[in-house]
Symmetry: C2
Subunit: 335 residues, 2 copies
């Protein structure tokens, strides 16, 4: 029986299987430590498109195609696609999915979008409204940096806390019929704003949101960090991860030995000049839908908590003096 | 028993009641034909805020408060809030809902967001995952025009096909327990792009998407326009409404006598200098959550089909030469 636990969590006893997943990575990501895990590493981040925006859409298309292919499914086998990205108006999703003909729910959760889409997708599958639902998100360094921070040509100096927007896309198909890895609970985040206004320190803006959702998850379920083989955040990076672990310790629970972060895993932080690590919707999407799911399938993990984190940062309001709200959505995957 | 009908529709036999709704309208909207229907008409579109962006957030806050008050509920009685808006990164929703503490799913469906949120909200309520879910969307002429078209101070000449972004917000609470009006089915839209690239003709971009979803609804359910007392679109305006009716007639079904459009209803088109009518997420939200729901409650309508339409327009990609994808999400409300 599916049931709400506490205020933010739903436990899914109805099976929601991960029947397929795939990740497409950019050139720099393909040179990082996870290079052997991705389904495809592109040769050119521009994907033979005219613009960076369309290039990101091409990543979305590729991720969708690979995820379908690995499941042996066609577009017409998918009841819903849930997707969003960092481009204004989620343009990468819209242009990337324009020709699929799949009923579409557009989401915006900044870098939390992958677990937002899996959360809603899992609820829809568990409810019996759909057999197969596809979740896909993306980000692209070149479309994101020009929109959120500086024109690429400006060549601005990056601060030590800055993160590198990941060029990648990841897709996952959730199904009521299958075997293996399952989504077993979801904890939906609340908007948290602790007053950070530095657009080059997303980790600090997001860490309190990650803490809020992870804390809610433990409170709602009665579990502790020891119940998980891995507590994975989306893109806190080095700075945000340290803040999260410190805040958690202050609240009386130690997650240090269980925690890792996709933004820290996807690059060789010391040698790839990414400062505080990776970020973007495509960061959690591509790491989860490759390295992490592979490890689950291989039996390395039995139960993991994944909390993608989003800085809901709007450059206009931040320039106007506002602080940056953030959110984190958590899912549990078990095998 | 809830069931999928055809490819895009879910019929909800589990009751999903509309237990509350409220609309907050701007000054111009309060001077229009629906002035007696709104719960609140503000005296100042800037809502005593420093910026237009925060003013729109204030509309969201007000709509949430009124919707809760009318139901006699508090924030803590709401399991999920589903919201989005037209500002980049959905900033109006994030700043407007930042202090609520309600688990939040952020959506982006451009002007289709109100029925997208009601669609997902209804599925969540019908599945038993939530008792009360709040759906809220907004738009603001001043935050939208500067972002999508011209700086307000530019005073540009508006084309005859241009629509006027509605300054308003509307909220609705869906619940598993209640009486009266119910959401009885949802038809989820697909992305449709017929090659329109004129950012001052959103009606033409959206009409084919409205047709696609309405046609799917009739096909999936076996119903015809005669089964409805009203077929309401979100913000096609005068131009888009004419195109929709013409396209429908060409496809062999006549909706002219049943169709109306929130963008045509909210203003006195002849006398309020709005050219082709109203648009924006707040258009469908404020008209549906006032005039239309009042008419349902009063018994004027027994069954209506509401298809909010969204032009998924990204100014950057359009400037790069891309066309404008669109989508429409339909819901059926019965009393």
């Amino acid at each position: 029986m599916n049931r709400r636990c506490g205020k933010q969590t739903v436990a899914l006893d109805t099976p929601v299987y991960v029947i397929s997943y795939a990740a497409v990575a950019g050139v720099k990501e393909g040179e990082g430590p996870l290079r052997d895990s991705f389904d495809l590493i592109v040769k050119d981040d521009k994907m033979a498109e005219r613009t960076w925006e369309l290039a990101e859409s091409a990543f979305v298309k590729k991720a969708v195609q690979l995820t379908l292919d690995k499941a042996g499914l066609k577009n017409t086998d998918i009841d819903y696609v849930l997707s969003g990205d960092l481009q204004n108006q989620c343009a990468a999703a819209h242009y990337g999915l324009r020709d699929t003909g799949i009923p579409f729910f557009g989401l915006y959760g900044a870098c939390s979008t992958m677990t937002e889409s899996i959360s809603l997708g899992a609820l829809l599958v568990a409810s019996g409204f759909t057999k197969n639902t596809l979740c896909v998100t993306s980000s692209h360094f070149c479309s994101a940096e020009k929109q959120y921070r500086n024109p690429l040509e400006y060549g601005g100096q990056r601060t030590p806390t800055a993160q590198w927007t990941v060029t990648a896309a990841g897709g996952m198909i959730l199904s009521s019929i299958g075997s293996g890895a399952r989504i077993t609970s979801i904890t939906t985040g609340r908007i948290v704003d602790k007053g950070i206004s530095d657009i080059t320190n997303m980790g600090a803006a997001m860490a309190p949101a990650a803490l809020d959702t992870i804390t809610a998850h433990f409170k709602d379920t009665g579990r502790t960090p020891t119940d998980y083989d891995l507590i994975l955040t989306g893109d806190l990076g080095v700075v945000g991860s340290d803040i999260l672990c410190e805040l958690a310790a202050r609240d009386g629970f130690d997650i240090t030995s269980k925690h890792d972060d996709c933004g820290r895993m996807i690059y060789d932080i010391e040698n790839q000049d990414v400062h505080a690590g990776g970020s973007g919707c495509g960061c959690c999407a591509s790491v989860l839908c490759s390295h992490i799911m592979n490890a689950l399938e291989a039996g390395k993990y039995k139960r993991i908590l994944v909390a993608a984190t989003g800085a809901l940062m709007n450059p206009v309001t931040v320039q106007q003096g506002e602080t940056i709200p953030a959110i984190a959505h958590a899912i549990v995957i078990e095998r």
